[in-house]
Each structure stands twice: as structure tokens, then as C-alpha cells.
């Protein structure tokens, strides 16, 4: 068992409803420092909503959420300060990149540093430059996002999130909007991040990534976390019939 101090993200009985519809149903999970958790499962199972509950982009109806030692009771209204404190520890990468189109790639990465970390513009730009180097985009610093390929935009978005030095990175289907080739460059950056010891939660349909990079795979279906274990256990010897059906469908494609 990992020591409690090593837990970066802890979800306890997180439930989220949209009207009558329960999208996330009493999910509990822990992610330890340096661990990569892949969440897989059929579309509409609640994977993205669960991920968005972690940094409270969706406010759960019930449950407790801890990110980087900051715990909130999600069942009551949260103050802005509380939200910011929790989000401060979690970096998020969206399916649609969501870069700021009116800022250059460098500005995209520097902006939040000057506002959230209170760094000077020069210091922020210097750090942004290093991050761009790290994701292989040093030559795109002064380009506007819409002039970049999807893969480049997503790598810039990863750099933007990393710039705030989060304790965990949340990836919401980061390659779903990309063709296989561009997806690969994003996955390569993500694999590098994992090797560097970043704690990551990745909602994905990329089974190879789950198999080869994730330390643990969780399967979500019908709003519940139905199975969790090492990639080998879950992807090769699934015990839950719903997981078996899902994996069969994935493999037959």
C-alpha cells in the first residue's frame, strides 16, 4: 500500500447528476504520485464528466475531492477561492485544445504564469520557451494557434498546463480530435511526461497508450467504475462482463 502522503488525487463517492440522469455514480478512486491512470470505457459512460469533476469544472452533487492535499466537500457550494486553490494543483488538457486564439503560442503559455504565479513577463516567457522546447515546439513560439496543426496545438496546450507546475495532469481524450499521425506526436509527449514522473489521469480511447504507458487502467461503464487494475489484468484478463464486451468491440474495430 502507498502511504497516504503519496496520494495526489482522491475521490470519495463522487456523484454527478444532470437533472434526472446520473452521469457519475458514487465513484471513488486514488491516484498516487507519479502514477498514470488511464480511464477507458464506452462513450457516454461518464469518463469525461468524472475527469471534469476532479478539477471541479463540473461540480459534483455528492462526494469529497482531494487534489494535491487540498480537500473539498463537493456537495456544498464552493467559493471561488476554494475552486482556484484546488485547480491550482491540476493541469487540464482538453479534447479541443482550447488554446486562446488571439494570443501567440508563447503568450498562451506565459499568460497564466503572469496572472496566477505572479511571474514577470520576462520570467514567464523564459519558462515558456523551455516548455516549448520540451514539447518540440520551440519554432512555433510566435505563431498564432490557428496556424498550427492540431497536434502542435495540443502540445502547446500541454505546455500551457505544465507551466503552472501542477501536481497532476488531467487529459480529456487528448487525441480524439486528431488524425493518427498527429495523435502520435501528442502521445509521445505524454509518454515523455509519464517517464519524467508526472502524475496523470488520462481519459482515452487509445488502448495502446493505456496498455504501454498507464500504470493502472480503470474501466467506466454506465456511470460507474466497474473495474480497475494493471493494464495487463484489465485489458487482457478482464473479469467484468461489461469490460469484456467493451474490449471485444474495441479489438474488432
Amino acid at each position: 500500500m502507498e502511504a497516504a502522503a503519496n496520494v495526489v488525487v482522491r475521490l470519495v463517492d463522487v456523484t454527478k447528476r444532470f437533472g434526472e440522469h446520473t452521469v457519475v455514480d458514487g465513484v471513488s478512486a486514488e491516484v498516487c504520485k507519479g502514477e498514470v491512470l488511464a480511464i477507458v470505457g464506452p462513450s457516454g459512460a461518464g469518463k469525461s464528466t468524472l475527469l471534469r469533476c476532479v478539477n471541479l469544472l463540473e461540480q459534483p452533487d455528492e462526494g469529497r475531492i482531494t487534489v494535491g492535499g487540498h480537500e473539498v466537500d463537493a456537495s456544498r457550494p464552493l467559493a471561488r477561492g476554494e475552486l482556484a486553490a484546488l485547480r491550482r494543483h491540476a493541469g487540464m488538457v482538453f479534447q479541443a485544445f482550447n488554446l486562446f486564439p488571439h494570443m501567440t503560442v508563447l503568450e498562451n503559455i506565459s499568460f497564466a504564469q503572469t496572472r496566477v504565479l505572479d511571474l514577470s513577463r520576462d520570467e514567464a516567457d523564459r519558462r515558456s520557451g523551455e516548455l516549448l522546447e520540451r514539447v518540440g515546439l520551440a519554432d512555433k513560439a510566435d505563431v498564432y494557434p490557428l496556424r498550427c496543426s492540431g497536434g502542435q496545438q495540443q502540445r502547446a496546450a500541454i505546455a500551457r498546463a505544465l507551466a503552472l507546475e501542477p501536481q497532476v495532469m488531467l487529459f480529456d481524450e487528448p487525441t480524439s480530435a486528431l488524425d493518427p499521425e498527429l495523435g502520435l506526436e501528442v502521445l509521445t509527449v505524454m509518454r515523455q511526461l509519464a517517464n519524467d514522473g508526472m502524475t496523470m489521469i488520462v481519459v482515452t480511447h487509445e488502448m495502446n497508450f493505456a496498455k504501454n504507458v498507464a500504470d493502472e487502467v480503470a474501466v467506466m461503464a454506465d456511470a460507474k467504475l466497474i473495474e480497475r487494475g494493471s493494464p495487463r489484468e484489465v485489458l487482457e484478463q478482464p473479469t467484468h462482463p461489461r469490460t469484456q464486451a467493451f474490449l471485444r468491440a474495441v479489438l474488432e474495430r
Binding site: 469544472l57 485547480r87 479541443a96 486562446f100 486564439p101 488571439h102 499568460f111 496572472r115 498564432y144 498546463a161
Partner: protein, 213 residues
């Protein structure tokens, strides 16, 4: 004095009326839009009602109320001030909705990205949403501005000596052909309107180029 020069002498007033009313509308429209979007009912509903009423009553009726109506309560504004106040208030109502449309046109992911980065709400509005909303709102704002320029002619009815006022005066004096005089007045409004349209298209293209460079 040449009748056409006299009409031209009304042009600065028409321009001043347009610019001041638009400036008031642009400034007051912003808090009005924010109030309209407020989560608190007691702020949102009055704002929405104000916007609806400002837009629902014809401009000429507003100007009559402000100029003639208020006089009864002892508030006697000059024709020019009454026209600026009236057209400015109406503009605030329209521009609040134009701003709101611009904000709604910005992808929801932009707000979420700001939130996820932990940006203060203020900063997200000011540096992330506003520049994009402005870009989306520009065509509608320009269309409104063009409409406003033409609406300033209504100020003639409360005695503001703008272009139409002077033209009508000259036409009544018979200093030149009424047709020529009124057509000249129309031409002046058209020139102003077209100028705004061209400026808006240029600005629009420039904003587009910045993003796509």
C-alpha cells in the same frame, strides 16, 4: 449663405450626436450586459426589463419624453443634450445585447480553459473572453452604429440643428430646389454610414489577420 453650405454646417452636430450617443451606449452597455448576465435575480431582471423597454419604445417617443415630458417635472434639457441622453440610453440597450451576443459566440472551451488554469474570473473575462467577444460583436455593433447615425435625424423634431434640421429649413425658405436640398442631406447621411461600414470591414479583416497570421 449658400444653402448647401448651411446644410453642411449641420454635419458636425450630426456627427457629435452620433459619436456621443454611441460612446454613452458603449460605456453604459457594458455594465448593463453584465447585470443582464448576473446570477442574482434582483440584478438580472431589472437589467433585462430596462433593455427591453429601451428597445421597445420608438426613439422619437424617447426624445419627446426626455425633452418635452421631463420639462414638466422641471428638468429642462437643451435639445442637443436631450438627444444625446435619449439616443445614448437606447444605444446602451442595444449594445448590451450586442455585447451579450458576442460573449455567447465565444467557445465555451475558452471559459473552461481559463477556469482550469485557475485564472481569476476578472482576468478570464478581460483578457480571454472580451477580445474574442469583441471580434464576434463587431459586425453587429457596426450595423447598430449605422442605424444610430440615421436615427440622429430624429433629433430634428426636438429642434437640434443637425443636417436634416438645416435642410428642412432651407427647403422651406426655398433657397434652392427642395429635391436637391433633401437629396444632399440624404447623401451626407449615406456618406457617414458607408464610412462606418467600410471602417468596420477593415477592422474586422485586421482582427482576422492577427489571429490567422
Amino acid at each position: 449663405m449658400d444653402p448647401f453650405l448651411t446644410i453642411l454646417s449641420g454635419l458636425p452636430t450630426t456627427i457629435a450626436l452620433s459619436v456621443l450617443a454611441l460612446a454613452i451606449g458603449a460605456l453604459v452597455g457594458l455594465p448593463l450586459m453584465l447585470a443582464r448576465r448576473a446570477r442574482i435575480l434582483l440584478i438580472r431582471v431589472p437589467a433585462r426589463t430596462a433593455i427591453d423597454i429601451l428597445r421597445a419604445v420608438p426613439p422619437i417617443v424617447w426624445l419627446f419624453i426626455i425633452f418635452f415630458g421631463l420639462a414638466e417635472t422641471g428638468v429642462q434639457l437643451s435639445p442637443f443634450v436631450a438627444a444625446v441622453v435619449g439616443l445614448g440610453a437606447i444605444s446602451a440597450g442595444y449594445l448590451a445585447e450586442v455585447y451579450r451576443g458576442g460573449l455567447m459566440a465565444v467557445d465555451k472551451g475558452q471559459w473552461e480553459a481559463g477556469q482550469a488554469l485557475g485564472l481569476p474570473t476578472r482576468d478570464t473575462y478581460r483578457y480571454v473572453l472580451a477580445p474574442q467577444a469583441w471580434r464576434a460583436a463587431l459586425p453587429a455593433a457596426a450595423t447598430y452604429a449605422i442605424g444610430l447615425i440615421k436615427d440622429t435625424a430624429i433629433a430634428y423634431t426636438i429642434g437640434v440643428n443637425e443636417v436634416l434640421f438645416e435642410a428642412n429649413h432651407e427647403a422651406q425658405l426655398g433657397t434652392a430646389s427642395p429635391l436637391a436640398i433633401l437629396a444632399f442631406a440624404g447623401l451626407l447621411y449615406a456618406i457617414l454610414s458607408v464610412a462606418v461600414g467600410v471602417a468596420s470591414r477593415r477592422l474586422d479583416r485586421r482582427l482576422q489577420l492577427v489571429v490567422a497570421r
